[in-house]
Amino acid sequence: MTTSLLVLAAIMAVVVWWLLRPTLNVKPWVEQRPIKNVDAEGTLPLPPVKVGLGVFLAVATSLFALLISAYHMRMMAADWTHLALPRVLWLNTGVLILSGVAMQWTRAAAQREQIDSVRIGLIAAGVFTVSFLAGQLWAWQQLNAAGYFVKTDPATAFFYLLTALHGLHLLGGMYVWGRTTARVLRGVEVGKVRLSVELCTVYWHYLLLVWLVLFAVLLHTHS
């Protein structure tokens, strides 16, 4: 549980600090005209949906941190056997990095208002992501073929669980990606999809980071 404690302590520290900041040295009972500088009212200079994504990422972080600490606690049991990770995971990792690069590139293009590049970038990111998911399924296939089923041993069970949850999060991202791409293909102007592209980029980077952490944890503990 130490991992989750540290991660959640960090998240809670940020939350409490963020909420505490505008409360210090304020005498709220003093009546005042509306404050001129909106920042001072404790509102983030971001559109709500970006803040929403940030909050959701905190939730997802809590989820994955708890899974990792459960993994570590379960590892301590006597019956733990190390899992032979399929090699294809390295390839998948590379593909996921490429999809993140493509997203980043798309975001830059969206800022420069280059709709053609946005179109290409989105499609490339989508192709890479689908390839990653297919690669993950392939890894499952390989494990299955080697006789490692979900009930074979706890390490295998965790592998399936972690990759499945990560994949589901990516699939959720693909939904937003699909809507955005469809709008771009329909010829919507860049300004209208810029926010969506930015959100996707942040989310993709986040899931890449999660995957790297998960992969590192799996690698660190495999035979």
């Binding site: 302590a9 505008p22 304020v26 009972w29 709500p48 708890l66 459960a70 049991a77 019956d79 009930k151």
Partner: protein
């Protein structure tokens, strides 16, 4: 309505959210069923939560019948009894209290109190309710599957939760876990809304420190829930895998009913850590909104600002931060590493300090106030009394050696019912009496309300105060019948009978409340916009009940905190938050000059 330019800069101050941005439905279904209006969603949440709460109330009545009159009712078997215990607990904690405080009160009050037109993501908000309803239906479905609902206790501890010696170990537990997973998904959708709305959609002048404590409480509870529910989500998924696919996350090698099962090496303690990592913050998820709401009820009815507002906010923050560091105090006797006891006993007793401060400040708000004993105020004072009792018994269970003899006994049942069942429910009642006029435009009947209060308050105290002493005696909890023992005197059974009678009376009297809700909707006294003469924004809406969009053509501008009651020199004993400075009397509605708002960002507000 003048034209409004939408600023490209992300700094858009919320006052410029144009009224036309919201989609106004035209049909009945669009308005009341597939509604994206937070107020309608709030009522949907509330009705669903209260309905399922009535089911749980009936279950508790059946449990009390068995405990008061054992071996009298042939339809209550040991298996049923455990199923009642489990479903009662889970429904009350998650599907009633969490959903009602956050989904119900959160949805209704957050946009109105912060001065927003609606939640920031209305569509997601609507989906949140429907997912919640689906979770409730799944849970109810478990009453009708083979084996019935799970009887593993609301803590759902493995291994027993998924083994044959426990009722509902096949269908029941799976439906429960899937339902919880859906509840969490639905809640996360709603929770994102509540947090972002409070952070980003506050109206001009509504600084964080001008928020009513209700909003602070709901905000912090939502943050806790968002971070804590994943622990339950993870453990639910892992237990589903253990049950359905035979993995061994939580299941050690064991011999059940003489049969060797294929599990190996799993850790039941791991589940307990995950469960309580969610379970303890859950206590505050229920308590913090109650703390917030009761602060406002007391302040309004004592006609006095809440005493020590800043300390109250800091206490909420401190409780929220600490609540993630105390979970293992539920596990002192679980067999975990005993050295954890030192750490968790200390953190648990430390969390009592901010909590005690909140109690002091409620009482100090009454001190030198001008107390109007309205029905909401009665419930608020009833809450403070009950909460003091429940909080203090928490100090017994939080202190590790004291917990040893008391854990697993009726003392625990009495304690947590006092602190997280009766206390929050009294606040729920007070809040409903308080905001019903805003929701419907009519007052609830006062006489029925007072009757409801007295029976509920005194009745619940009569149920739970003596129950602590059964715990001291050593009467175990979750026992279908006490049976023969050497040391439990027959008088303990007489006490059980008395508790059962009190419980049945309190349960039955809630019909009066439901009747009041329905009768007053049609026949209640019209309330006017601000019957309690309160300062917060929800009472300053141009329409009662507020229409979709809440505030008419322009959003209010806030000039003061939520607690300007009995300000020296003011003509009235309250000054609404949106009343500009320099005016002596409330009620004169006059839009502020643009010049009063100070320099704007370029293009921010074009009139």
């Amino acid at each position: 309505m003048s034209s409004v330019a939408f600023d490209e800069s992300p700094h858009v101050p919320p006052a410029e959210v144009p009224e036309v941005e919201l989609y106004h439905p035209k049909t009945f279904i669009g308005r009341y069923i597939w509604s994206q209006d937070a107020k309608v969603i709030a009522v949907q949440y509330a009705i669903t939560a209260i309905s399922v709460g009535v089911v749980a109330l009936v279950l508790s009545g059946l449990m009390r019948l068995q405990l008061g009159f054992p071996h009298t009712f042939s339809f209550i078997t040991p298996a049923n009894y455990l199923q009642f215990v489990t479903m009662h607990g889970m429904i009350m904690v998650i599907y009633l209290l969490t959903a009602l405080f956050l989904g119900g009160f959160g949805n209704y009050l957050i946009p109105l109190m912060v001065g927003a037109r609606d939640m920031v993501f209305p569509y997601v908000n609507m989906v949140s309710y429907w997912v919640y309803l689906f979770a409730v239906l799944l849970l109810m479905a478990s009453f009708f599957v083979p084996g019935g609902p799970t009887g593993a206790g609301w803590t759902l501890y493995p291994p027993q939760a998924i083994l044959g010696g426990t009722p509902g170990a096949n269908w029941g537990i799976i439906l429960m876990l899937v339902s919880l997973a859906f509840f969490i998904i639905g809640f996360t959708m709603g929770g994102l809304n509540y947090v972002v709305t409070v952070l980003q959609a506050r109206t001009r002048g509504m600084t964080m420190m001008r928020l009513p404590l209700t909003v602070w409480g709901i905000l912090m509870a939502t943050i806790l829930a968002l971070l804590a529910f994943p622990a339950l989500f993870v453990s639910a998924i892992m237990m589903i895998l253990d049950q359905a696919l035979g993995t061994s996350f939580f299941m050690p090698a064991l011999v059940s009913k003489g049969q060797h099962l294929a599990y190996n090496g799993g850790s039941p303690i791991l589940f307990q850590h995950l469960f309580w990592f969610f379970g303890h913050p859950e206590v505050y998820i229920v308590a913090l909104p109650a703390f917030g709401i009761v602060s406002d009820l007391i302040s309004v009815n004592a006609r006095r600002n809440i005493f020590g507002y800043r300390m109250m906010v800091w206490a909420i923050l401190a409780i929220g931060g600490l609540s993630f560091m105390v979970w293992a105090h539920h596990m002192y006797v679980s067999g975990m590493n005993p050295y954890f006891g030192f750490f968790f006993a200390t953190t648990t007793l430390v969390i009592a300090i901010p909590t005690a401060l909140k109690v002091y400040n409620w009482v100090l708000t009454l001190w030198r106030g001008d107390i109007h004993l309205t029905v909401p105020m009665l419930f608020a004072i009833g809450f403070v009394f009950t909460f003091i009792n429940g909080g203090l018994t928490g100090l017994f269970l939080g202190n590790v050696p004291v917990d040893i003899p008391l854990s697993g006994t009726m003392f625990v049942v009495a304690h947590f019912h006092m602190v997280m069942a009766v206390s929050p429910i009294l606040v729920v009642f007070g809040a409903i009496y308080h905001w019903y006029p805003k929701v419907t435009g009519r007052m609830l009947n006062d006489t029925l309300g007072k009757f409801h209060f007295w029976v509920t308050f005194l009745g619940t105290y009569a149920i739970y105060y003596p129950m602590h002493y059964l715990g001291f005696l050593g009467v175990p909890r979750r026992y279908f019948a006490m049976g023969n023992t050497v040391f439990i005197p027959p008088s303990a059974q007489s006490l059980n009978v008395a508790i059962t009678i009190a419980a049945l009376i309190v349960g039955a009297i809630q019909v009066v409340f439901l009747y009041n809700l329905i009768w007053s909707y049609f026949k209640g006294k019209p309330s006017g916009p601000n019957p309690w003469r309160a300062t917060t924004l929800e009472w300053q809406t141009p329409h009662t009940p507020p229409k979709h969009g809440n505030f008419g053509p322009t959003l209010p501008v806030v000039y003061r905190w939520a607690y300007d009651y009995s300000v020296p020199g003011a003509a009235e004993d309250f000054i609404p938050q949106d009343q500009p400075p320099g005016r002596k009397a409330p009620g004169l509605e006059e839009a502020p000059d643009a010049s009063e708002l100070g320099p704007q960002k370029p293009g921010a507000l074009v009139t």
